[in-house]
Amino acid sequence: LLRLVRGAARQEPERPDALAALARSAAAGDRAAIRTFLVTVGPHLLRVARRVLGAQHPEVDDVAQESAFAVMEALPDHRGECAVLTFVCRIAALTAMQVLRREATQKRAALRHDAFDFEQLAGGVRGADDELAARASAELVRQMLDTLPLEQAEVLALHCVLGFSVPEVAEASGVPFETVRSRLRLAKQALRARVLADPRLAAAMEESS
């Protein structure tokens, strides 16, 4: 365990965070710093919102703006536990997940889940349209973000949706490395159960392996 933790620490040597000073000035309300900071992180806010919600989701812009507000609120508490950009992406992911969960509560088992086209997934796996299958798989993971416990959903989002490594997730979330691994394992188990519960998804997963 110690080796793992030390390995995680060694993976990213101590380097100055390029955004740290800028983030401090932005947190202090410096208008020029806020502008530069948002020009820098703005594309990431949009990217995260699109990844979590889907590019066509009508609330992408609103979520990006809400994320920017949330980042500004949280910046004074950032103590350099992780890179500023990682911090920002995590906040954006959590903000977008709130929207997903709010939607899921409002129309649970209604339009959005029924609209999911499982045929795209199965058809794509057979090679007709790989990109379509990839998007359908992504949509299924998004659905899981609605239903998993928040901690597992967060780890799944940061690791699978945003592509953070496990050590990066641990740094960003402020939880131990092993806890992240455990949550990720549980999230994958839940996802697998969800896939296996549907014969078409199960067949698609079998074909993909």
Partner: protein
């Protein structure tokens, strides 16, 4: 069970490709970011520098008044032996102010310097830009450090933040030449600023697109030396691409391996593995 895990991992890899395909950079993103910035400025922006600037101006004005008052008193004292004031006499003629030389401290009070909202007066030593990068005073020394004419300069000189924002806007708008020029200007004027570090990545990518791999490589390597976080994966990928175009296969291989080992989940890792496999 292992086979199930493998199947699930492959399923998630495919989903990751779906997420990547679902997060495109769209044409109006720069406008979206500007809207977000305006909203954030309205809620969180403070006039951090203006109070300090106002205090400086008030101080300078007070100094000017004191100097004028002292000059007036001196003139009056000098005149007093020739024309002693008599009771009920005519009111004394106000002294001519013109001969009084203006204080050097009053020079920064010229209107253009005050019209720029974020620009400190030239003699003020307060930090001027975000990220700790000092805004150069518009002196002859600063001009000598600025190699070419300023692009898009609305005021006397642009801050690091303004240069960075202008370069980003040009890049998003597809004007690569202007974006490169602004980024290079930022690097020359504010080499140690946070904005300069951040701009190296986009500058490297732009130079790669423009077919200048050697210059691009220098930017990626400089970014690697100074920055941390996820951007380093992008820098490594850019470095590998630059090395590929320069025909330096061994170094390219090393960069790709480093990217795969250090950032296994990065968006570039899949492409890096393919490229590594294709290398002789």
């Amino acid at each position: 069970m292992t086979a199930d895990n493998d199947a699930m991992d492959k399923f998630l890899q495919r989903a990751t490709r779906g997420f990547e395909a679902d997060s495109p950079v769209l044409a109006g993103d720069d406008k979206r970011i500007e809207r977000i910035e305006r909203a954030v400025q309205r809620r969180y922006g403070k006039d951090v520098r203006r109070p300090a600037l106002r205090r400086q101006v008030a101080l300078l004005a007070a100094c000017g008044l004191l100097m004028a008052g002292a000059a007036f008193a001196a003139l009056k004292w000098a005149d007093s032996p020739q024309e002693p004031p008599g009771r009920g006499g005519p009111a004394p003629v106000p002294p001519k102010v013109a001969p009084v030389a203006p204080s050097p401290a009053a020079v920064p009070m010229d209107p253009p310097a005050l019209a720029e909202p974020v620009a400190p007066a030239p003699s003020v030593a307060a930090p001027a830009t975000s990220g700790g990068a000092p805004r150069p005073a518009p002196s002859s020394k600063a001009s000598a450090e600025t190699p070419g004419p300023l692009l898009h300069a609305p005021g006397p000189l642009l801050t690091a933040a303004e240069l960075f924002a202008a370069a980003s806007r040009a890049r998003v708008a597809g004007d690569a030449t202007k974006a490169v020029a602004l980024s290079e200007q930022l690097l020359k004027q504010f080499p140690s600023s946070a904005e300069a570090t951040a701009t190296r990545l986009s500058l490297g990518m732009l130079l790669l697109q423009q077919g200048q791999p050697a210059r691009a490589l220098a930017q990626f390597e400089a970014y690697e030396r100074t920055a941390a976080g996820q951007g380093r994966a992008e820098a490594l990928w850019g470095k590998a691409q630059a090395l590929q175009r320069l025909g330096r296969a061994e170094e390219e291989r090393a960069a790709l391996r480093e990217l795969i080992e250090k950032y296994p989940q990065a968006a570039y890792t899949g492409a890096a593995k393919k490229r590594l496999a294709a290398l002789p």
